[in-house]
Every structure is written in structure tokens, then in C-alpha cells.
């Protein structure tokens, strides 16, 4: 290394020093430590003892672990695509010729900045089966169905029902798609008008235009929101912690990170929780790679795509 390079290196390292220190103390060190912990028995009060693969073996036989994984999968599989679909539809709608677009954009965006804890407290009351407005709105619908088919449907008990608690949390998540919608809307406005004009000349229907012009043109941003959405959904925690008292009714909303948190900070099974944390990490990495593989060829990057 020449003296000049050395000087450059020193200067560069000086500027990124905060990150380097933070990275070692809050990332690299803890990553190694939790990896080691995952092979130990550790209850915080006594020294960790080596347990080899016991934690992972126990996980495989832990019903709650599998339940939490299934619950999280349910939440992810429904909330992510549904959220993307709603965000995309709203963006398409707002992208049409219309009045007061900024006002409506604000209305759809606003829910996404409501603090999650405040939103959770609010939605508990909305989902209240006796006095909440959701069931007030659904009641006429059920009555109509009952009248037409002679059925006896009633609005669900939402958070009190093992069947409906998870769908309730999915519904709540859709309320917060405003950020995604803003992204889609910005992407839609960047699609060159000329492409639509050409499609018009070819006699394309609106649906064909969406399918063959809009979707390919905004595919990078769809992909980005898909990956971020999946990662976020797999880490769902706050809503369940607050709204369903740590996974109730029964264990129907016991999500992965909730169970991880309980193991770590309520049962003090730090080794076990660390093993869970690494399984989550592996899962997220695997899903991200999988999504890259599957969707890679559907993504269109303008200008060749070296991204």
C-alpha cells in the first residue's frame, strides 16, 4: 500500500468509524453470540451450559413452535398479497384523470403513519363483536344473506374467535398500505405515456394495458415491496402482543416473534430463543433468495438492468 492509499484508508475509516463500531457491537458480536447461545442452555441467572443440538431438536418437537410458524405463515400469505393488491388498485385509481388527487392520496396514506400501538388499541374497539362498528356495518349484510338464502349467518366474534382472530389482524394490516400505495403511484406516474398510446393503437383493452404495459414497467417496485412485505410480515409482533394478549384466543395468534419474545423475556430460555432467532434468520434468507429466483425473470429493468 502506498503512503497515499494509507492516508485515504485512514480518512475513509475515520468517516465510517461510527458505523464500524456500531456494526461490531450491535451486529457482528451479537450475531456470533446468539449463534453460540443457540447451542446452549441459558437461563440468564446461571452460566450457559453446552447443549449441542438440543435446542433445535426440542424445537422440532415443540407444538407451539409449529403453531407459531403456521400462524405466521397464514398472516404472511394473506396480508402481503392482499396489501399489495389493495395498494396497487388504489394507486391505479388515483392515477386516473381525477380531481383533488392530493387530498385522496393523503386520506389513503394517513393510516400508515398511525403509531402501531395506537392503531392496535383502536382496532380492538373496532373489532369488538358487541359494540364495534365493523359488526354494525356487517350486520345488514348478514341479514340480507339470511333473508335471501334462509341461512343464519352472524358477524364473527373477530378477536375472540380462534378462526377469525388472524383474519382480523390481516384486515387491520390492509388499512396501513398507504406507504406502498404512494410508491406504486409514483412508479405509475413514471410509466411513459407513449407506451399506452402505442397500446391504444394496437387496440389493447384496459386489462391488457395493465397486464402488458403497467405491470412490467413497475415490476421492480412490486418486487421490492414484496420482499420488504414478506420480511415485515414474518416479524409481526406488536399487534398480537397488544390486541390478543400474547396470542389468544388459545394460541390462534401466537406468531413466531411473539413466541420468541416469550421464550426470551418471560421464560428466560435464552438458548432456546436464540435458536428460534437463527431459524427465523435462515427462513428470511431462504425466502428472499427464493423470491429473487422465482420473480427474477419477470422483472423488467429499464436500461438493461445492472441493479
Amino acid at each position: 500500500m502506498t503512503p497515499g492509499e494509507k492516508r485515504e484508508l485512514r480518512l475513509g475509516l475515520f468517516f465510517v468509524a461510527p458505523y464500524l463500531i456500531g456494526f461490531s457491537v450491535f451486529m457482528l458480536g451479537p450475531l456470533v453470540a446468539s449463534f453460540v447461545f443457540s447451542f446452549t442452555d441459558y437461563d440468564i441467572f446461571n452460566r450457559p451450559t453446552w447443549a449441542a443440538l438440543d435446542n433445535f431438536r426440542a424445537l422440532a418437537h415443540d407444538n407451539l413452535f409449529w403453531t407459531s410458524l403456521k400462524n405466521t405463515a397464514f398472516y404472511t400469505v394473506f396480508s402481503v398479497p392482499l396489501g399489495m393488491l389493495v395498494a396497487f388498485s388504489l394507486a391505479l385509481l388515483l392515477n386516473r384523470k381525477m380531481k383533488a388527487r392530493p387530498l385522496f392520496r393523503t386520506i389513503f396514506f394517513l393510516p400508515s403513519i398511525v403509531p402501531l400501538v395506537a392503531a392496535s388499541v383502536l382496532w380492538v374497539w373496532i373489532f369488538n363483536s358487541q359494540y364495534g362498528y365493523l359488526n354494525w356495518a356487517l350486520r345488514p349484510l348478514c341479514d340480507a344473506v339470511n333473508w335471501a338464502f334462509g341461512a343464519s349467518t352472524a358477524p364473527p366474534n373477530w378477536l375472540q374467535s380462534p378462526t377469525w382472530a388472524k383474519p382480523a389482524l390481516v384486515i387491520m394490516s390492509v388499512w396501513g398500505v398507504g406507504g406502498t400505495m404512494v410508491l406504486y403511484l409514483a412508479a405509475l406516474q413514471d410509466v411513459p405515456k407513449s407506451l399506452y398510446e402505442v397500446a391504444d393503437l394496437d387496440g389493447a383493452t384496459s386489462f391488457q394495458k395493465i397486464r402488458h404495459v403497467t405491470l412490467p414497467m413497475i415490476s421492480p417496485i412490486l418486487f421490492f415491496t414484496l420482499v420488504m412485505g414478506l420480511i415485515g410480515a414474518l416479524q409481526v409482533f406488536t399487534q398480537a402482543y397488544i390486541m390478543t394478549k400474547g396470542g389468544q384466543p388459545g394460541v390462534s395468534t401466537l406468531f413466531y416473534c411473539l413466541y420468541l419474545f416469550q421464550n426470551a423475556f418471560e421464560y428466560f430460555r435464552l438458548g432456546y430463543a436464540s435458536a428460534m432467532a437463527w431459524v427465523l434468520f435462515a427462513l428470511i434468507a431462504a425466502i428472499t433468495v427464493l423470491v429473487f429466483r422465482i420473480t427474477g425473470r419477470f422483472i423488467y429493468y429499464e436500461g438493461g438492468g445492472e441493479q
Binding site: E5, E8, L9, L11, L13, F14, F15, V16, Y19, I21, G22, F23, F26, M27, G29, P30, L31, A33, S34, L93, K97, M98, F104, T106, F108, L110, P111, I113, V114, P115, L116, V117, A118, V121, L122, W125, I126, N128, Q130, Y131, Y133, W136, G179, V182, L183, A186, I221, T225, I231, L234, F237, T238, C257, L260, A264, A277, F281, I284, A285, T288
Partner: protein, 274 residues
């Protein structure tokens, strides 16, 4: 065409009603007298009362709004300052300096953004416990002093757009890199800095899991932790709960109306260039 125009507006109006309804429910419930709260069907027109809000501000209220608010603002102030200073400094090092290993480190940083926080959570907790920082604000305000990968990435992208000639001119004038970062690049990047400040404020205001892990004594609760605990204790008191939720949400909504452009820009910046 005309028909399309009308249909679009009808659809948008209907959907915005759906999205607005939870807010209306929040406000009406916060202002509804207790005896009307549990009426079926819900009553939408009534003479509003401030009893729930007044109860929250009563001296013995378990939801100590002022205390929680000042705790939250204290944490936010440190987080915002730390994130802006540290992230911009690091971003400058990545964007405008050439040094061996820079790209390797930068891409490592991008890669680590995928690692879920839960994986580091336990050892980080143990470190703070060893330092005796449990039940203090330190675990919430110290980590941002080292920057945040997300903000560093965003600022780096922005710093790259500052014209090279400006920096070279400053170098010719004999300014050091610190001066260039602080006096040339920072003033030109106010829009991006504002976005970082805003998002970091929001993140800190909304953060729940860290206060939950690290704060034990009620006098140190932040608004989110305070509201969550309040909800646990007063499950059935919907009027008070809605009043408290509204109090926590209002500042954010007001902030949003003053910073709409930064919000939208920030979302685009973090999303599209990502």
C-alpha cells in the same frame, strides 16, 4: 369518458370513506359519554364530552400523558440527532471518499439490512444488562449514535448527486474533508436530512419492542409502552383508551400535514432507489 370520470370519483369516495372510518370511530369514541359508548347500534350523533380526556390528565391517572410525552420526546431528540450526525458522516465516507475496501464494506452493510433484529436482540440485551443500563433510556438512545444502515444508504444516494466540482473547489481552497462534509455537502442535502430526521423521529415515537424490553419503571415509559400498559389495565374503558390513542396519534398527523412533501419524497427515496 364522462362516465369513467364519474365512476372513478365514486369509487375513490367510497374507498376513502372506508379508510377514514377508523379515524371517525376513534374521535367519536374519545368524545362519547360513557353511557352511550355501549349502545347498539352505535350512535353517531351526540353532544361530545371531554370527560375521557379530562380523566387522562387527572393527577392520579395511570396514563401519565405529560410524563410519557416528555420521555418520548427525550428519546426522539437523541435518536434524531444521533441518526443525522452519525449516518451523514458515514454516508459521506461511502459516497465521496475513495479508499480501499470501501465497496466491500458498503455492500456488507446493505447485506446486513436483511438480518432480522430478533437475531441480535438477546445478546444486545445481555450487553446492556451487563452495563447496568436496564430501566434507563440509554439502550434506546445510544445505538442511533452509531448510525443506521437504512439512513446511511439513503444519504449516500443523495450525497452522490452533489456536483463533484463543488467538492474539488473546496479541496483546492484547502478545506479538509470534515469541513467539506459539514459545510458543503450537509447544507446542500437539507431535503434528505429532513427525511432522515422525520423517519427517525417516527421510528422512535412508534417504537414499542425496545421500550418494552428495556423500560421497567412507569415514570420512564414512552407513549407507546404507556398506552400498551394502559390498555392492559383498562381493557373495558374504551372512552379513555380511545382518548389516549387519539392523543398519541394527533401529533403525528399534525406533523404529517406540515411535512407532507418530505414524507412522500422520503418514501419514494427509500423505495424506488432501493
Amino acid at each position: 369518458m364522462k362516465r369513467d370520470f364519474v365512476l372513478t370519483h365514486l369509487a375513490v369516495l367510497a374507498l376513502s370513506a372506508v379508510f377514514l372510518f377508523p379515524f371517525i370511530w376513534l374521535l367519536t369514541s374519545a368524545l362519547k359519554p360513557n353511557e352511550l359508548l355501549k349502545q347498539w347500534p352505535p350512535i353517531w350523533v351526540f353532544s361530545p364530552t371531554l370527560e375521557h380526556i379530562r380523566e387522562l390528565f387527572a393527577p392520579a391517572s395511570p396514563f401519565r400523558f405529560w410524563q410519557f410525552l416528555s420521555n418520548t420526546l427525550f428519546v426522539c431528540a437523541f435518536t434524531v440527532t444521533g441518526n443525522i450526525l452519525a449516518s451523514s458522516m458515514v454516508a459521506y465516507g461511502f459516497a465521496r471518499l475513495r479508499w480501499p475496501g470501501r465497496n466491500l464494506l458498503f455492500y456488507t452493510m446493505l447485506g446486513t439490512m436483511m438480518v432480522p433484529a430478533q437475531t441480535m436482540m438477546i445478546p444486545v440485551f445481555l450487553v446492556f444488562r451487563r452495563l447496568g443500563w436496564i430501566d434507563s433510556f440509554l439502550p434506546l438512545i445510544v445505538p442511533p449514535l452509531f448510525g443506521n444502515a437504512f439512513f446511511i444508504f439513503m444519504l449516500r444516494q443523495f450525497f452522490l448527486t452533489v456536483p463533484r466540482d463543488l467538492l474539488d473547489a473546496a479541496r483546492v481552497d484547502g478545506h479538509g474533508e470534515i469541513a467539506i462534509w459539514w459545510r458543503v455537502v450537509m447544507p446542500l442535502s437539507i431535503p434528505a436530512i429532513a427525511v432522515v430526521g422525520l423517519f427517525s423521529f417516527l421510528g422512535s415515537w412508534n417504537d414499542f419492542i425496545n421500550p418494552l424490553i428495556y423500560l421497567l419503571d412507569e415514570t420512564r415509559y414512552t407513549l407507546s409502552l404507556g398506552l400498551a400498559m394502559f390498555q392492559g389495565q383498562y381493557e373495558a374503558q374504551y372512552g379513555r383508551l380511545m382518548a389516549a390513542s387519539a392523543l398519541m396519534t394527533c401529533p403525528i398527523v399534525v406533523l404529517f400535514f406540515f411535512t407532507q412533501r418530505q414524507f412522500i419524497e422520503g418514501i419514494k427515496m427509500t423505495g424506488i432507489k432501493g
